[in-house]
Amino acid sequence: MFYMLSQQDIRLSHREGIFSMNKTKKMMTGALAAAALLTLTACGEERGYAEPTGTDCDDWDWDDETGTYYCDDHHSTHAGSYYYGGKYYGTKNSLQTSADYKTYKTNYKSGIGSGSKGGFGG
């Protein structure tokens, strides 16, 4: 049998400074900063636009990296394509080099910044 620390025990111990936990604390400082940013981004993300309809792709996934829809249906004629602004891009490279996407991507990053302004105080 092994006694399991309760979450409360551990949090209290941290607050009271009983443990040094230096490596864990330092690592978590970076992790919490990234998590806060991502959480706030997710709140304001709303995926920007709707996924395409009327295609033979049964699986349009939201791709966090590009902020566009990605067709994850290998039976589809759009398989592996990205969808943005009413257009389909066969490769990530063709998406990322298009003028439309460059404009959007700039806006997408701006959205992340504005979301974080309202969240840290909460």
């Binding site: 979450q7 443990f19 936990m21 864990t24 690592m27 990296e65 592996g80 990530k92």
Partner: protein, 421 residues
């Protein structure tokens, strides 16, 4: 030769290209553990939920600053590489190592980058089930694996804008039987036109070679025939080793050059770069840390899953020492139990692996959990052994399951114990 040994040798010798004995020692047991459908479902449910937590955490890991990545054990040379996402899934073949008892399922570690134990669970387990006239819990998983590999390779090619005939190379260190035969199994299972080569047969061109201002040899990775490789399937070669590869003559760091080719979309690798991102055991400390904070990055349901399936894990041993808890010290990129140490509730070392390959690496400290025990049949007769489950997560779905049986620290000398029901 005793009858059991004779039967075992006869049975396994019929399975082509399988390593039922390794280094002259018994590996695959001519035995089977009967499981209930309920246990199998419980393991698959845990696998799906744990896998989801890791996949959800991956975008957060890609956003970490360099200093935090270093604190998680990722060498500087890998930082730009691991931030790449070349496939819609973070890893194609992942294995979770789980402790399963009647009361609970707990994750010991994730092997996201270069898991083995593949042919054993996806193929050999079914043959053993037939022999023992039991149903195979992994029935259908081989096709699932094949489809996942096909999808990974075709998606990788599309992301690089390649079409038509492509050069797909499966590579391994041929002198290592398990590595070679695992890689060959995957190559044959995938079914696309491809080649097998030893790593030492590959050649890398890191800058275009010019003649009279014309490119005569483009930048890229080349096979033994001088043909440029599009996809390198490197199932058994860890990235933390690759970064140390050097050319024997020039001493150039060719492993790091290979990673640059991937970043420049001159080459695709499977498992993809993001698989290495999940490989550090320190990621479990990060997930546990966010859970302790009840951080809103995870939903309440995800926090429940972390509480249910993860063990408290930190980068320091302080909590366990203070609370009088037994714990395990593991190197962040250790494999096969190498350098693992177990400490008692007074902080005294009570067990250790005799290999010390990773003794200078960053370690994580995880709450100790006793592995259950069972009786196994070996050529030397019945033995009592600890056991844990290897449960595969393929392209984001639970898949084949198998058992490793041995000591409290599961190491290279542990047996493969098939399962059936």
């Amino acid at each position: 030769m005793n009858r059991f040994r004779e039967n075992r040798q006869q049975f396994f010798s019929q399975i082509k290209d399988f390593w039922h004995d390794i280094y002259g020692m018994e590996y695959a047991l001519f035995d089977i553990k009967r499981e209930s459908a309920e246990t199998i479902n419980k393991i698959r449910q845990a696998t799906e939920q744990i896998g989801h937590i890791f996949y959800k955490s991956a975008p957060l890991l890609r956003m970490l600053d360099d200093e935090t990545l270093l604190r998680l054990g990722f060498p500087t040379e890998t930082h730009s590489f691991i931030r790449l996402q070349t496939l819609p899934v973070e890893s194609v073949i992942v294995r979770l190592d789980l402790v399963v008892t009647d009361e609970q399922v707990k994750l010991l570690e994730i092997n996201a980058d270069t898991p083995t134990f593949i042919k054993e669970t996806f193929f050999v387990n079914g043959r053993v089930c037939e022999q023992f006239e039991l149903k195979n819990p992994n029935d259908g998983c081989e096709d699932q694996l094949k489809q996942a590999m096909l999808k990974a390779v075709t998606s990788s090619l599309r992301s690089m804008g390649r079409s038509g005939a492509n050069n797909i190379v499966f590579a391994a260190h041929s002198e290592h039987e398990e590595d070679k035969l695992t890689t060959m199994y995957l190559k044959e299972l995938m079914g696309l036109k491809s080649q097998y080569m030893d790593f030492h047969q590959l050649q890398l061109v890191d800058e275009p070679i010019l003649k009279s201002e014309e490119v005569v040899i483009a930048q890229g990775l080349y096979d033994i025939h001088g043909e440029k490789i599009d996809v390198l399937y490197r199932q058994t070669y860890p990235i933390e080793h690759l970064i140390h590869d050097v050319d024997p003559i020039t001493k150039d760091k060719v492993g790091q050059s290979l990673m640059k080719l991937v970043e420049q979309q001159q080459l695709a690798v499977v498992n993809p770069p993001s698989a290495f991102l999940l490989q550090s055991k320190a990621i479990m400390a990060l997930i546990w840390g966010l859970h302790e904070e009840q951080h809103s990055f995870y939903t309440p349901q995800e926090h429940n899953a972390i509480h249910k399936y993860f063990l408290p894990t930190y980068l320091d041993s302080d909590v366990f020492l203070q609370q009088g808890q037994s714990f395990v010290k593991k190197p962040t990129f250790g494999r096969e139990g190498d350098t693992v140490e177990i400490f008692s509730n007074t902080g005294k070392k009570i067990a250790e692996d005799f290999h010390k390959t990773y003794k200078d690496e960053l370690s994580v400290y995880q709450q100790f959990i006793e592995l259950p025990q069972t009786i196994i049949q070996t050529e030397q007769g019945p033995k009592r052994a600890h056991y844990m489950y290897g449960s595969f997560y393929i392209n984001g779905q639970a898949s084949a399951i198998g058992i490793r049986a041995g000591g409290q620290i599961t190491d290279n000398g542990s047996y493969f114990l098939p399962i059936g029901y």
